[in-house]
């Protein structure tokens, strides 16, 4: 591995002496790379351990630079990398992923995070293997509480996450929840441009709030709370509650109406209307929704919500009951879920309101370790050895500044890795 470094160093065209930028800190002086964790369009993530007296395990996210020809050039950093670097440097909370440092070296950015052994996607998946067994209700409650607690911190600091999904909710080996991947996060106070204009598509489609699907230009922290509702449902049912198919952008990069995703929501939540969501009539995609419903005939969609029967059925098939070992989220759980999956973003619970919900205040203390009392064991994060060279690893894909966003490409590959 070290020889790999040296060899490459000789090949790469170091800048001639002068005013050029040279990092004061070098990644390989501070970290020993253990293996490769995952890759995305932004670059790759490696597992590392500290060197030279620095203790602990780390996840190093390497942002790839643009390649122009064979030699890597400085081309200006993507806006999403800048956002993530700036936000992670500013934020500090027990339920938000912890940044150790950022190293800018050899035209690359290395964001060094604490290492987290698990994430919700992996935990959910584990409970479907070899056959379905429920995540204990007390664990779901602790996960949700910590998730909302981290989200309250973000929202209090004017940060919208915009891409909450199980894969981005990290879990440490001691059962602490950390909200991760702030690559799409943005500050929402007095935005210069409307939040809509920056990047037109946000949030993995299954977790995308209805107001976004309806083309809202002025979205709010409520989009993150919808995603929390979806994650809550998924923790209980072990599959995405609204698993729609994404309509891809056409060649002109106009954003299509996400008909299929909207239908998945309507199937369970009933048709949104002026009564339960007064703002819907002024939504850009309202006519699309109207034509969708008229084309299916008047009785195709339920006018009222089926969420309660979905929930009851979910508890029943999942094996949640007061007498089972898994316990049950009960009536309070349903009430919280229905208030998170509220069509009207102005009526949807805020993070603070959700934390004050009876689901949390009833039923005793909430352990800081979500694994408290859980007998099972989750597999460790998979780390491969085929690419240990953080500086030379081949990088595929394009940077994430533009459209379409990588988070929208689906997460099937991540599922397969398990």
């Amino acid at each position: 591995m070290l020889t790999g470094f040296l060899r490459k160093e000789n090949l790469s065209s170091r800048k001639p002496a002068g005013t050029g930028y040279t990092s004061k800190v070098r990644v390989r002086d501070r970290y020993h790379i253990v293996g490769f964790i995952s890759s995305g369009t932004y670059g790759r993530v490696y597992k590392a351990i500290g060197k030279n007296g620095q203790k602990g395990e780390f996840a190093i996210k390497k942002f790839k630079p643009d390649k122009e020809g064979e030699i890597i050039q400085y081309t200006g950093l993507s806006q999403s990398a800048i956002r993530e670097m700036a936000l992670c440097s500013e934020l500090d909370h027990a339920n938000v992923v912890q940044l150790a440092e950022i190293i800018l070296e050899d035209k690359c950015i290395f964001m060094v995070f604490e290492y987290t052994e698990h994430d919700l996607l992996q935990i959910i998946h584990h409970h479907t293997q070899p056959q379905r067994h429920p995540i204990p209700a007390s664990m779901v409650r602790s996960i949700l509480f910590q998730l909302l607690n981290g989200l309250l911190y973000l929202h209090t600091n004017w940060v919208l996450h915009r891409d909450l999904k199980p894969a981005n909710i990290l879990v440490t080996s001691s059962g602490a929840i950390r909200i991760g991947d702030l690559g799409l996060a943005r500050l929402f106070y007095k935005p210069l441009n409307s939040l809509f204009s920056g990047d037109k598509v946000v949030v993995t489609i299954w977790y995308r709030a209805p107001e976004l699907l309806m083309g809202s230009r002025h979205y709010t922290p409520a989009v993150d709370l919808w995603a929390v509702g979806c994650i809550f449902a998924e923790l209980l049912s072990l599959r995405p509650i609204f698993k729609g198919e994404e309509a891809k952008m056409d060649s002109k990069k106009t954003v299509p109406f996400q008909r299929n995703q909207m239908m998945k929501i309507i199937d369970i939540m009933g048709l949104p209307n002026k009564e339960n969501w007064p703002g819907i009539v002024s939504m850009p995609e309202f006519s699309q929704l109207h034509s969708l419903t008229t084309s299916r005939g008047p009785n195709h969609f339920s006018k009222s919500s089926n969420l309660e029967s979905w929930y009851k059925n979910c508890l029943k098939t999942g094996g949640y009951s007061a007498t089972s070992s898994a316990g049950t989220p009960g009536e309070d759980g349903f009430d919280l879920l229905s208030r998170l999956l509220e069509y009207d973003p102005t009526k949807r619970l805020t993070a603070r309101e959700a934390l004050e919900h009876p689901y949390f205040s009833n039923g005793g203390p909430i352990p800081a370790n979500c694994f408290d009392g859980f007998e099972g064991k989750y597999p460790h994060r998979r780390v491969t050895q085929d690419d240990n060279d953080i500086r030379t690893g081949s990088l595929s894909g394009t940077k994430r500044s533009g459209l379409p966003d990588d988070s929208l490409m689906g997460r099937a590959p991540k599922r397969l890795k398990e």
Binding site: G76, Q79, A94, L104, N157, A176
Partner: protein, 347 residues
């Protein structure tokens, strides 16, 4: 890692956030108190002076060989140049303000005479635009900066240093120079790129203090002016905003353009007026000022704002307007050009 919030019960955990939500009397930015700006980018005057003195000590030759205008005059020049660049690309004020703060921060880590200030300006602008959500393409920024600062023009002056050098440019056509300088800026700022500006405190206070739109406009332009001083490195944004409001309410010049074209008279008026208002602060029972100003004084006295800091800010601004008299764009441009060419900083 440490669990800083122990969620034993819902209520115990929410206490954790009480500090964050404590917006204070005037609804100050909730997140300033924990910000990197407050923790890492606020200096004392002494510290700032020591940093600059250490730069001078390190390279005395360059300092005597390449004299530069007063820091504030240089800031006026930078600000005007940034404004020109911003206008060409119709950028928002906030991005220009952020760029100016980046430049100030950068020059607490680097001596100006070891940099190409035009490159630093362009890069700070490019980076600030991304951070303030009005991104500009790097190629566009380079093109505009090159036509704004062709560099060669300096050589047509009667500058004795110029003749000895091959004609060159302040901003290279190659975008990688900006990209590289961006790494340098981010690295020197430790990726702490979020800047809290007084503009937000001003709009928060607008309703509470029932400011007229004229007063807000004037306070806004006072805030613009404070970027020409060291104040952004010395005081929190809400102190600056309150200073700007006091200046606007107490002096209320007929139009802000008049204010700008001739800063000297206002400086004198501010000095006297400033003394009056702060005297009135100490003497709450006095018959004193008109009700409009009295209201502001009462509010100030009841708020937990550091009055001493506000006074110091006002004084800093007064001295800016006084030194402004000596400003010459041509002079700043020539001295910078001479320095850049003389030290080959454009290479």
């Amino acid at each position: 890692m440490l669990i800083r919030c122990n969620p034993l019960t819902a209520s115990s955990c929410q206490d954790e956030h009480r500090f964050d939500l404590n917006l204070g009397k005037s609804g100050m930015a909730a997140n300033y108190w924990a910000s990197t700006q407050r923790r890492h980018w606020l200096f004392t005057r002494e510290r700032l002076a020591a940093i600059r003195e250490s730069f001078r000590e390190k390279d005395k030759v360059a300092h005597s060989q390449f004299p530069l205008p007063d820091q504030r005059l240089l800031n006026i020049y930078f600000s005007q140049q940034l404004n020109k660049l911003g206008k060409r690309m119709s950028t928002r004020q906030q991005a220009l303000a952020t760029a100016q703060v980046y430049i100030k921060r950068y020059y607490t880590k680097n001596e100006i005479r070891s940099t190409n200030p035009y490159l630093v300006l362009t890069t700070a602008f490019y980076l600030a635009c991304k951070m303030e959500e009005c991104p500009q393409h790097i190629r566009f920024v380079v093109t505009e900066a090159r036509s704004l600062w062709p560099g060669r023009q300096i050589l047509t002056t009667t500058n004795p240093f110029a003749a000895a050098h091959v004609p060159s440019e302040f901003i290279a056509p190659d975008i990688s120079k900006i990209g590289e300088c961006e790494f340098s800026l981010i690295s020197e700022m430790h990726s702490q790129l979020i800047v809290h500006h007084p503009y937000r405190s001003l709009s928060d206070l607008q309703a509470e203090l029932t400011l007229t739109s004229d007063e807000v406009a004037l306070a806004w332009s006072v805030i613009n002016d404070h970027y020409l001083t060291d104040l952004p490195l010395l005081y929190p944004p809400h102190v600056i905003a309150i200073m700007a409001i006091i200046v606007a309410v107490v002096f209320k010049p007929s139009s802000q353009t008049a204010f700008h074209s001739s800063p000297a008279p206002i400086a004198g008026a501010m000095r006297e007026g400033g003394i009056n208002i702060f005297a009135a602060l100490g003497d709450k029972g006095g018959a004193g000022p008109p009700p409009r100003i009295q209201k502001l004084i009462t509010w100030l006295a009841e708020s937990e704002v550091d009055i001493k800091a506000v006074i110091e800010c006002t004084q800093e601004l007064v001295s800016l307007y006084e030194v402004w008299e000596q400003y010459s764009e041509k002079n700043s441009k020539e001295l910078l050009g001479r320095m850049i060419k003389g030290k080959s900083l454009d290479k």
